[in-house]
Amino acid sequence: MNFLATIGEFFLAFFAQTGRLSVFVGQTLAAMLRPPIYFRIIGQQIIRIGYFSLPVVALTSFFTGGALAIQIYYGGNQFNSEAIVSSIVALGITRELGPVLGGLMVAGRVSAAIAAEIGTMRVTEQIDALTTLSTNPHKYLVAPRVIAATLCMPILALIADIIGIFGGFVVGTQSFGFNAAIYVQRTINFLTVDDVTSGLIKAAVFGFIIAMMGCYNGYYSKGGAQGVGRATTNAVVSASILILAANYLMTSLLFSS
């Protein structure tokens, strides 16, 4: 009986959480479309989310591109490796690793920061203060962060693509002695516009997820410092899981056709 009650409680909590998240997303979308739109805050958030995430995304993609080149070289046919390393590195980085790893790194950095900031505002009554000052928190706090993250992530993914491919190029030419011109030529010949754009579309969705999870968990945090800590952890974990799930879903949709 207790076991059944536990299962029941779990599902009730799950559906309540899903419903609350759906309402929150709806309110945010409405806030994004209706004026006033706080362009100055969007600009500030683009710098915080996009510009300050550049180093972590660049380093991640560089080392991932390099490691990918090593794995393909030793895992594949070493005698024909010059042909496949460049193409698979380019394909893997642009379609999957650039947006996904970039998304996960930004989720760790940005989702946590947003949840901590908004969560602290919640427990110190700053969000209530916004409301009493006739300012909609969804418009002022949530919408600018979601817009900024959704705009920034494709740009970060594009940079991750370039640096990731460059990482593979460095390893290929310096460690395995590949011809630089041939490596570049094969990369260009193999890559299609669709490979890159599919990754950028994914990145935009990941940006939306990252900011939304940060804002949602921060907005509903309670219980002082411990509650803010819990919100921060939940934001990173939920954003990471949703990024991986959304990646699978979008890969199925984009490439099955």
Partner: protein
Amino acid sequence: MTVKIALSDVHKSFGPKDVLRGVNLEVETGQSVVVIGGSGSGKSVMLKSILGLLTPDNGSIKIDGRETVGMARNSRADIDHQIGMLFQNGALFDSLPVWKNVAFRAIQNDGMNETDARDLAVDALKQVELGPELLDLSPASLSGGMHKRVGLARAIASKPEIIFFDEPTTGLDPIMTDVINHLIRDCVQELGATTMTITHDMTSVRAIADKTALLYKGEIIWQGSTEALEASDDPFLNQFINGLAHGPIEVEGQQLDTAPNAEAI
């Protein structure tokens, strides 16, 4: 005198816990009402219900005769615009300097330019006896007393008709408590505003109240003028205003003493 704020049979529960159990209270225009009550008596929930931050389960809350329960946030914009609020810990926005905090409403809602907004902030800070040297400071660098005063400046900057004070003197030393009480009294008189203060600080009650209401277990069990407060022989009120450990009021769910005349309430 017309009634500015009227609460009628307001109920609010959180799960199985009934926090407000039929609150009835009227605040007349220009009146300063102080609601006292122990921790967990429902004071903050009542205040948040009036502000529209919480929605009551039952009952009616009217401001200027307009029913606000069930009203969408957008629909009550004109009501919100005439309300100022001083939160318990100031609730100043960490990301903004003092002047942008004080002039927040004017900048965000009225589109006031930065020069005028700074002037507005200077005037509001002057009213709470703070100088312009604070304008560009971050709220994080202010002391507790300054935090409250900047919060008060923000609450009065838009010259609201109604001002709410949530525990305005909690955590302050006796001198700063007196300063804040006088500032509240002066600002309110200057603006001619209607005010509601929730507190458990009797010094504040005596300094700022025209009318006092005692909230206990989610109900207003006594209300009257400050003179009536001192003269009352109500056992609940006496226990509270004299800070007695023993009496009819249950502390933290534990009844310390059952006064024989508790049934008289």
